[in-house]
């Protein structure tokens, strides 16, 4: 809803509209299927029957970034892949979020010391909203990460940021 953002001061109508948009966005974060390495297997296990990811709204893993809300970077990011990640992130439409799953995408993981080809953390190239630690994180950890992301989304607002003057 880019046309509405930043136009209004905080008021009671905005809070209701905020609540509606945030409810819609947080309850259906469609992930981009972006499994890189071992964490991808745990992500698939989270989407399978025992740790069902669909009950949190992340039912469909989209194949294309243009239809996805959240990019779960699951696995080690290498230099060769980092250029592609920048492009994929740019292709995602707003509002977009990034969950960094696993210690490799948090900060390089076990490859921090001698990994000449490993990017030490995906936040070197794209902004990250939630970090999920683990190697690999248990499916419950990923679900917790998704719930934290949902909490973060629910705090968003389309009102003008406090202290700013004029239109956005």
């Amino acid at each position: 809803m880019g046309v509405l953002e930043g136009k209004f001061e905080e008021n009671v109508f905005i809070t209701s509209v905020d609540w509606l948009f945030n409810w819609a966005r947080s309850n259906s974060p469609w992930p981009l299927s972006f499994g890189l390495a071992c964490c991808a297997i745990e992500m698939m296990a989270t989407g399978a029957a025992r740790y069902d990811l669909a009950r949190f709204g992340a039912e469909v893993f989209r194949g294309t970034p243009r239809q996805a809300d959240v990019m779960i970077v699951a696995g080690t990011v290498t230099m060769k892949m980092a250029t592609r990640i920048k492009r994929l992130y740019a292709q995602m439409p707003e509002p977009k979020y990034v969950i960094s799953m696993g210690s490799c995408s948090n900060n390089g993981g076990p490859y921090w010391q001698y990994g000449y080809h490993v990017l030490k953390g995906v936040d070197e190239v794209i902004p990250v909203d939630v970090y999920v630690p683990g190697c690999p994180p248990r499916p419950e950890s990923l679900l917790e990460g998704l719930i934290q992301l949902q909490k973060k989304i629910r705090q968003e607002t389309i009102a003008k940021p406090k202290g700013s003057k004029g239109a956005a």
Partner: protein, 155 residues
């Protein structure tokens, strides 16, 4: 065939081109003159008693004074294994490609080129395989200096 029989056969066929042999049961190998690697490999693959039709592993090892290329060969018909080694100088590591003998060598040689800088002459498509095409240096060399950044990303 036992390793010492294979070593004896190779020695009988190629004489002085086999520089050294160590047919130990744990890990038998022979050092071959690098210029003669193609005829030796072809003999190993085509001879009836040897039939080494499976290239198991092609490894490059960087020692302080030389680079070794190790070919671990196995025979599916006779179920025996033998290794060949070629010793190359570190500054100019060049060797003939055995891609025409075993198709598996195509990708293995590309990897040895990528990580160690060994150039295989006669290879159909010698370019980097694991690292990006504009990467500088060959990482598995002992004197490799880790780069500080690649395309503005810190390493």
């Amino acid at each position: 065939m036992k390793p010492d029989e294979i070593a004896a056969l190779l020695g009988a066929q190629f004489g002085a081109k086999i520089l050294e042999s160590k047919p130990s049961p744990l890990s038998p190998w022979s050092v071959v003159d690098p210029a003669e690697i193609l005829p030796v490999c072809r003999f190993l693959r085509d001879d009836e008693r040897l039939r080494m039709d499976h290239l198991e592993c092609l490894a490059g090892v960087d020692y302080k004074d030389r680079i070794e290329v190790v070919y671990v060969l196995y025979s599916m018909t006779h179920r025996h294994r033998y290794a060949l080694k070629c010793l190359l100088p570190r500054e100019s590591a060049r060797l003939n490609s055995v891609e025409s003998i075993w198709g598996a060598a195509n990708w293995h040689e590309r990897e040895a080129y990528d990580l160690l800088g060994i150039v295989f002459e006669g290879h159909s498509d010698l370019r980097r395989i694991l690292l990006p095409d504009d990467w500088e240096g060959h990482p598995l060399r002992r004197d490799y200096k880790f780069p500080t950044s690649y395309r503005d990303m810190p390493v």
